[in-house]
Structures are given as structure tokens and as C-alpha cells.
Amino acid sequence: MLLNSKLSSRRRPERWPYLFIVPMLVTLALIFFYPLVTVIRDSFYGGSVGGLSYVGTANYVSLFHDPIFIHAFVNNLKLLLTVPVTTVIALAAALILFENIRGWRIYRVILFLPYIIPATVVGLSFSYLLQGNGILNTMLRKLGLNFAVFDWIGSTSISIYSIGAVIIWAQLGFGVVVLTASLLSLPNEVSEAAVVDGATRWQKHRYVIIPQIRETIQFLMVLEAITALAWVFPYVYTLTKGGPANSSMVMDLYIWQYGFGLGAIGLAAAAAVYLLLLSSILIFIYSRLRRKQTSS
């Protein structure tokens, strides 16, 4: 990575960069900072629309003791488990495609489809797949695999994992395309050299190829983690609506339910602040890890 600012020893102050970032700053101020300030302010108010009253930190305390909110928080953390799973599967698929098997271009086209399908369509079709007597269970029963039949979205203990599976499905294609692109841009000498040296395929992958695309993998994992924390609402909403019995509740759905559905915007705002805190902590950890990496 080139460190431009360190190259020139004569540090002539330039003004144009500051001008160029103005549109970005204005946009961010309007779309993010202004609403965030409002949200933080709202979080200290209770009641709902038309009847708001100042309650100090009561919302934060209430959420801290609300078993549903805590459950949502834990669920979001559980969804983070999808990150390594998605990455590993995408990597496996990308490596296979990389080896130029027949029809790999077609596979890649098809595997990207889930990414472009809107969440409502995903929710509709997967509901039919995952219902108690849906397509998946019917097939499993036909194949005699009754032990594998579960109530995927109707059981409180596994509903969140089913949602995790759908998220993996939706994100997989993006990962495959990104990783394939990265692999294809590697210089050929790298993989050829390993073959000459007599390495097995697995060794070749592990020690030669994967480290080369490490940064891409990290980039991908960051995006997937961000999705799992903050962009799962459409999937949860259409698949289970957070149920049954709030077992698959996640934080952004909680915010929607209380803020938009019930008008308790103060409580929803406090929940949003908690979500932002969690995300900030994770980003902080990530940037620390990156700094350690680039310096080592």
C-alpha cells in the first residue's frame, strides 16, 4: 500500500482536497449526523408520538432490563457466526471455480443471483421452503431422512439459525464473485510455482494462494459482519417477523417495531444508540487488528 502523504518531503499545503470532500461532508451531515443528533436527543424522551416527555436515562435502563432486547442483542451476536461460515464456503467455491472446471462462468453467474433478489422475494420463497411441511421437510421425509426434519422457522430454539442460513445464502454469491476476481488477478507464477514444487492442492491453497488474497478476505469479512449487525431487518421481517415468540428478534427489527410500529420513538432511539455502540466497538477492534497487521 502506497503511503502518498509520506512520499513528498516538501509538504506544500494543498487546498483542493478540502474542497473535493465538501460534497461528501454535506451529504453525511444531512443524512447521518443530523438524524443521529435527533435520535440521541429523542432517546431521552419517553412516551410516544404526540405525548413525549423527558425521562432522562429511563429508556436505556428499561432496555437494559428488557429480556427481549437482550435476546435481540444476543441474536445479532449469533448472526456474526455467519461471517466465517460464508467466507469459508465462498472461498471453497471460488477456489474450485478458479481451477477452471467446466462451466465455471455459468456457475458464477448463477451463484450471484441470491444477491440481487429482493428480500421480500427471498422471504416469500424461503418461507415455503422452510415451513413445517414445506419443500425442504417434504423432500427430507421422502428421502427417509426423518431425523433431519425440524421446524426451521417455527421452533423458538432454531429460528435464528435458520435466518442465519438464509443470510449466508444471500451473501454467498457476492463473496464468490469477489474472491474469484481476486484470485484471477493473482500473477500466474504464484500458483504455477507451487505445482512445480510438488505441493498438494490443499497445501497450495493454504500456504500460497490464500495468503495472497488475505486483504480481500478481510474486506469481505468486514462487509459480512456489518450486514449481520445492521442490515438483516428485511430478511428477519419477511421470514419470521422476529418470532415465534420473539425468538428471532434482532436489534434493527426491535427498533422498527417500537419506533415505527408502536410510535415509541424515544425507546427505539435508545435501542439505536445501543446498536451503534456495539458496532463502534467492533469497528474499533477491527481497526486495531488492521493496524497491528500493517505494522508487522
Partner: protein
């Protein structure tokens, strides 16, 4: 930030301007202003409409009705904006925050209507609709606060208990006799199960069945609406068996295998479709579904009645019916008289007839000619819907308690993740939470209920 000062500086102008501009954006030529003598047949109205989910075809009918109205009164134009079920309450609350939006809005009866009323978001109908007119409306008691009626009903929605006569016969039960007591109900379920038929088929993924079960079965040891009001806003506790006993009954049905095994993963509509496919013998449904099943040829197989009797309170003799959705005029509307005139016109006899013929849903008006109903089962349903003793208990629950409490309890029982005791305690916790989080709404509820 800059916008805060912008808001503060020009709030009044912006608020009235935004209403005008929202209306003007529809491309109208007239510019509505506050007038001294108001002509109720001039101007532009925006009507946020919801009924399609209850009554398929209602949106098309309303659109056609509006065209007829506009032909009668060329100086008025009405824009119909259909609302989605999932955003019905949220969209209204969001628009209410900025005190702008539709002239006529709709919300489900009682609490969802009265909450905006208490928040000052609804205009009084006095002076907008004559009292002689309103006297013809049915079920107006569902939207009364401070001695006046605040919203208009459109149709009646009953919640009949339905059974499949052919499947009853197959199990050796009398096809013409539905279970009238809980003991009979359990006995019928046992016989059906023994014959390899799923006794009850419902869908609870969306949670509504939990509220419905509470409303039809769970209120049978109560004596009046006052008991419900006392529960939500007074001193009664949900953990008292007269309120939460029904959870044990629901658990019993589930544990004995009388309910379809995928109940927690299919939604209400799909559960009904399963019944229509003949895969279950009994279900709770709405008038509209019965009508469409008759249309699909199932008429001879359907038996309808009120839910089996299991309690001893006065409410155990009540039928579950409501106006479902109610229309009201918003407090910020600048076209209140025009809105009132339109609402009055919708209830004129010729429109009632036209509505029934198009949708087969029963109009909520005394002037409806019930001789238009020809099908024997629909006649039965109409008789049930117009019984003097009715209650749709869900209407009396604050929306938060309904969705977070009653519906969640139903799902917890049906998915086997809570015992009835645990579920009851959870509902009480939600009631307490609502009171803490929404003290203004609780206070209004108490005043309204006379507690």
C-alpha cells in the same frame, strides 16, 4: 444544526405549506384555504384506505365509488391511497408527528382509533356528520370516548368457528353438529385424530391467532368489557386464571396433537388455505374467507357457529364480531366538512347495496337490505354478526400489549417454548411495561374506562 433553526424560524408557515403542497402535488387546480362558509363539495381530499386484506375487491369498489361521487360533485376530487397492513399504524403515526397527511384515515376499531383521538389527531364528527346519519351506523360503541363517536364503520367482520362437514362424517361425527361445549370439542378432536384427520388447522407465524384465541376462548370467564379494561389499565392481573386460563387450554390442544404440526411456521392466510384444501377439520376464520370458500364450491361442506363454550362468564355467550376498520377525519385536515360529506355519502342505501353486491361483505348500517343475502351460510353469518351481544376483545388491548403480549404468548405456547404459567407472567410483564413506557396513553385509557 442549520435545519433546527430553519424549523424553529418557519415552523408554522412550513406546516401549513407542506399540507398544501402535499395536496397540490396531486396536480389539482383548486387551492384550498380556510373559508367562512364551507362548501363541503369543493376541494381535494386524500383518503388513506385499508380494507383489501379483510375484503378482497374493496379497494376497486371504493375507487369506483369515488369516481361516481366526483361525477356528482365535479368540484371535489378524492385521492385514494391504499395502505399496507404492516405499515397501517406506523405510517399514520409517522405522518401524525408532522401534523400533516391524509384528510381521512383508517385504523382498526377501539384502541387503534382512540389512541389517536386521545392524542388530538382526530377531528370530532359533530358538525361533520349528522347525528341522524350516525344513528344508522352499526357497532359505533366500539369507537366511543367522552360520549361521542369518533369514527365510521364500513363493514362487519365476524369470526366464525368453522368445521368441514365431509371430514366430520369421515370421522364418524354428525356433520351437522359442531361442538357447542369444550368437552364436545375435545371429544370431536380425539375422534378426528383417531381417523387420521388433523382436527384443527391454523397458522400462527404472524401471531394473530394468539390474540384471536384470547378473544374467543380467553374471555369466556369474564362478564363485560369492564373486566378487560380493568386488566389493561386497572388493578386486575393477567396471571389471575380468569384471564389466563385459556393458555392452559391452548397448551392442551397442542400437546394432544390436535393442532397442525406446522402451525408456528405458516401464517394465518396459509392456515386457512390448508383448511380450504381439506387438510384440517376445524378452524377460526373470517366472514370473507367463508364467502370465498363458498364461491370455490365448498358451500355444502361448511358448518359455521360461534366458538365452543368453555367459560361461565357473561362474555361466554357473546359472538366475536367487529367493524374491524374504522374511518375518521384527521384533526389537521383543512377539508373536514368535505370529508364528512363523503363519509356520509358512502353510507347511503344505494352504496350499501352496491358494496354488498361487489364484495359480499356485510355493510355496517341498519339500512342495508339483508334480503340481498341469498346463501344460507352467509345468512347465518349475518345473523351472528348482528347479534346484540358482541365483542372483539383484541380491540380493547393497547396495541403494544396485543402484539408483544397476547400474540407472543400464543406463539410461545404453540411452539412449546413456554408453559402457560410462564406465558401468563410474560403477558403481565408486557402490561406493566406498557404502563411505564406509555404513561400518557395509560392515563387516557383509565379516564376513558372510568377507572
Amino acid at each position: 444544526m442549520i435545519f433546527s433553526s430553519f424549523k424553529r424560524a418557519s415552523l408554522t408557515a412550513v406546516l401549513s405549506a407542506s399540507v398544501l403542497i402535499v395536496l397540490a402535488a396531486c396536480g389539482s387546480n383548486s387551492s384550498p384555504t380556510a373559508q367562512k362558509t364551507v362548501d363541503p363539495y369543493t376541494g381535494k381530499l386524500v383518503y388513506w384506505f385499508w380494507a383489501e386484506s379483510d375484503v378482497p375487491g374493496s379497494t376497486a369498489w371504493m375507487q369506483a365509488a369515488i369516481k361516481r361521487y366526483e361525477a356528482l360533485h365535479p368540484a371535489i376530487s378524492i385521492q385514494l391511497v391504499p395502505q399496507g397492513s404492516d405499515t397501517l399504524q406506523g405510517a399514520f403515526e409517522t405522518t401524525a408527528q408532522s401534523k400533516s397527511g391524509p384528510d381521512i384515515a383508517m385504523q382498526w376499531a377501539t384502541l387503534p382509533v382512540l389512541t389517536p383521538v386521545w392524542r388530538g389527531q382526530v377531528a370530532s364528527l359533530k358538525g361533520l356528520v349528522s347525528s341522524t346519519e350516525m344513528a344508522n351506523w352499526l357497532n359505533t360503541s366500539e369507537n366511543v370516548s367522552n360520549g361521542e363517536v369518533w369514527a365510521m364503520p364500513l363493514y362487519l367482520l365476524g369470526q366464525p368457528f368453522v368445521w368441514n362437514k365431509a371430514l366430520f362424517q369421515q370421522a364418524g361425527l354428525d356433520p351437522n353438529k359442531g361442538p357447542s361445549t369444550w368437552a364436545e370439542f375435545l371429544a370431536d378432536c380425539a375422534k378426528l385424530k383417531a381417523a387420521g384427520i388433523t382436527p384443527i388447522t391454523m397458522g400462527d407465524k404472524d401471531g394473530f391467532f394468539g390474540s384471536w384465541f384470547q378473544g374467543t376462548v380467553g374471555t369466556q370467564n369474564l362478564n363485560s368489557v369492564k373486566d378487560l379494561q380493568d386488566l389493561y389499565a386497572g388493578t386486575a392481573k393477567f396471571t389471575d386464571p380468569k384471564y389466563s386460563g385459556y393458555l392452559t387450554l391452548l397448551a392442551e390442544l397442542k400437546n394432544k396433537g390436535y393442532i397442525n404440526s406446522d402451525v408456528s411456521s405458516i401464517d394465518l392466510t396459509q392456515g386457512w388455505q390448508t383448511f380450504a384444501q381439506g387438510k384440517g377439520a376445524m378452524t377460526w376464520t373470517t366472514d370473507g374467507n367463508v364467502a370465498s370458500w363458498i364461491k370455490a364450491g365448498m358451500g355444502s361442506k361448511l358448518g359455521v357457529q360461534s366458538v365452543p363454550k368453555v367459560g361461565t362468564g357473561t362474555l361466554s355467550t357473546f359472538y366475536t364480531a367487529t367493524q374491524s376498520i374504522s374511518a375518521f377525519v384527521t384533526s389537521w385536515s383543512t377539508q373536514k366538512e368535505a370529508a364528512g360529506a363523503f363519509l356520509t355519502w358512502i353510507h347511503q342505501p344505494e352504496n350499501l347495496t352496491s358494496w354488498y353486491n361487489a364484495t359480499k361483505a356485510f355493510p355496517a348500517d341498519k339500512r342495508f337490505d339483508s334480503k340481498l343475502i341469498t346463501d344460507p351460510i352467509m345468512k347465518q353469518l349475518y345473523a351472528l354478526d348482528t347479534l346484540p351481544n358482541q365483542l372483539w376483545a383484541e380491540n380493547y388491548a393497547p396495541p403494544q400489549v396485543d402484539s408483544q403480549g397476547l400474540q407472543v404468548a400464543g406463539q410461545a405456547i404453540l411452539s412449546g417454548s413456554s408453559t402457560p404459567t410462564q406465558a401468563a407472567a410474560a403477558v403481565q410483564r408486557v402490561i406493566d411495561q406498557w404502563r411505564t413506557q406509555q404513561p400518557a396513553d395509560w392515563k387516557n385509557y383509565k379516564t376513558w374506562a372510568g377507572l
